[in-house]
């Protein structure tokens, strides 16, 4: 009875015993609920370029203002950034390295974008793809944010790219030469619109030593109702500010729960948010610990380093942050507070 084949038969027979029809009341209840449920907007591009998060939007706005005022901007460059650009490694060409592609809307459509939802300006233009030491990242040049770092393996002409936002691994065939990289089908459409060209650039940041070990740290789950109440209770915010925070910055209108996490890996801090369990990358940037009580977070936006300094308090496997970089306005302060100061962030 308990050999493999018998067990399998018994298990299948046992699994067959059970209902195979959904109760009508359940289906009708779902359909009724759907009548009043809005769909989530699809803001992704073919490879799921992360949406800009509130922090980054604010930072972008600050950068634009700074440039308009005559190029007053923040500069902070960790020591790891300084040095000669990386060069292509000797030997047979590999996928490792940094690649650029530039294509138009027409070229993107010709490659087979299947619906109008992906036909938007975020999906064409100038992109940069980096493969280095088992990690890959893609960013859009000139775009304010996006492109968290994730893992990959490659060999035998197939690249296996893990996409944390989709939680899937793409298996994409490719051919590589010393100067170009061409993807086949099997992955995001944007990868195969045109061949990518190898460029030399700065290497990816490496792990940084400090009071926090690498890993993912989860913040507490907040009720959206509490966030809304806090927004409404903040007397510094105008009515328009409140609407902007709820609808546009946090995008939690009609949602229930919200949480943030901070991922420290390989010198990159990736900030993610989960709204009703749907996770998306918010922003990413380099991080450094000048001392055991300071975390410096540096986002690169439009080729400008935007620096935020936090006071860091480590308590075992968790930490809290307190922003010491001044904020520009009440919206900035509120949003930054929720994103980074709603801790403790606890090691996963």
């Amino acid at each position: 009875m308990t050999d493999d084949r018998s067990l399998e038969r018994a298990a299948r027979s046992w699994l067959d015993e059970g209902p195979s029809r959904a109760p009508d009341r359940t289906v009708e209840a779902a359909l009724s609920q759907i009548q009043t449920t809005p769909q989530e907007r699809d803001l992704r591009i073919p490879w799921r370029f992360p949406k800009m998060n509130p922090m980054t939007r604010i930072a972008t706005a600050l950068v634009v203002v700074a440039l308009a005022l005559g190029g007053v901007y923040l500069v902070f460059r960790p020591a790891s950034d300084i040095g000669p650009p990386a060069t292509a490694s000797p030997g047979p060409p590999t996928i490792e390295g940094t690649w650029d592609v530039l294509y138009t809307r027409e070229e993107m459509l010709a490659a087979g974008i299947s619906d109008s939802g992906e036909d938007n300006p975020g999906n064409y233009g100038h992109f940069r793809l980096t493969f280095e030491a088992g990690r890959w990242r893609m960013i859009k040049i000139g775009y304010a944010s996006g492109g968290g770092v994730s893992t990959y393996t490659a060999g035998d002409g197939i690249a296996h790219l893990y996409s944390p936002d989709d939680d899937v691994t793409f298996d994409i065939p490719y051919t590589v030469t010393a100067t170009s990289l061409t993807f086949g089908r099997g992955g995001p459409v944007g990868f195969r619109v045109k061949p990518w060209t190898r460029i030399t650039t700065e290497p990816m940041p490496t792990a940084v030593a400090g009071p926090l070990k690498e890993g993912i740290y989860d913040g507490p789950t907040l009720q959206v109702a509490d966030i809304v109440a806090a927004v409404n209770a903040d007397a510094r915010l105008t009515s328009a500010d409140r609407t902007q925070i709820i609808n546009d910055l946090f995008e939690v209108k009609d949602q229930t729960t919200w949480s943030a996490s901070i991922d420290l890996h390989g010198g990159v801090l990736t900030q993610r948010q989960a709204v009703d369990g749907a996770i998306q990358v918010g922003s990413f940037g380099r991080y450094a610990f000048p001392d055991d009580h300071t975390l410096v977070y540096t986002e690169r936006i439009d080729n400008i380093d935007v620096v935020t300094v936090f006071e860091l308090t480590v308590n075992g496997d968790s930490f809290t942050l307190h922003r010491t970089t001044p904020t520009e306005n009440a919206i900035d302060e509120f949003v930054s507070g929720v994103l980074f100061e709603s801790g403790p962030f606890v090691s996963r």
Partner: protein, 196 residues
């Protein structure tokens, strides 16, 4: 009648055009899809959760979440796999929400398909049922997708977004638990046999 009540739901051919329309906000198209896939989804949820009430909640939540997220579905041809994945996660949520499993009394028909060959006795089924409740929800999901839907392990792994090794491991542990249960059920009978 038995087949209609107890067998696997027939595989449905999901209409890509319906998925495309639903992605663009067409509720009527989505309702048609719901009617096409609900039976199969419920059957899977029930087998993972072994509880009608929890399975109903999981199905309802999965359908609503699928509607919300449908515009983000990358490939309409993968609708079925995608919605099964949402369902499995809804099952995880339900199992978290209700830690204590409620007992569902199921009246079994006398002439069950699969029992006629003698491979599954009432005792076996009871033991399997009890043992399955002690298997983790993640392991159950892999077990059901593999043995009930008949998906190869690589497809189970892909559907759940797991490395193939993880799916294999979960199936292995679920199988071990069920085998142990059957061995335990068989031992008293064997002892009785020896005594006789």
């Amino acid at each position: 009648v038995i087949a209609a009540t107890w067998s696997r739901p027939p595989e449905v051919e999901v209409d890509r055009d319906l998925v495309e329309r639903a992605r663009k906000g067409d509720r009527e198209a989505f309702a048609v899809l719901v009617h096409q896939v609900s039976d199969g989804l419920y059957a899977v949820a029930w087998r993972i959760l072994r509880d009608s009430s929890l399975a109903e909640d999981a199905l309802q939540n999965a359908l609503v979440l699928a509607w919300r997220r449908l515009p983000k579905l990358r490939d309409p041809d993968r609708f079925e796999a995608w919605i099964h994945r949402i369902l499995v996660h809804a099952c995880y949520d339900e199992s978290q929400r209700t830690k204590s499993w409620r007992t569902t009394v199921t009246v079994l028909p006398i002439d069950l398909p699969g029992s006629s060959d003698g491979t599954s006795t009432i005792d076996d089924r009871d033991e399997l049922d009890r043992a399955f409740r002690h298997v983790s929800i993640e392991q159950r999901a892999v077990f059901v997708l593999h043995h009930y839907l008949g998906l190869p392990l690589v497809e189970v792994a892909e559907l759940l977004g797991l490395p193939a090794g993880t799916a294999r491991s979960r199936l292995h542990y679920a199988t071990l638990a069920l085998r142990d249960a059957l061995v335990a059920a068989a031992e008293p009978m064997a002892r009785e046999g020896r005594l006789a």
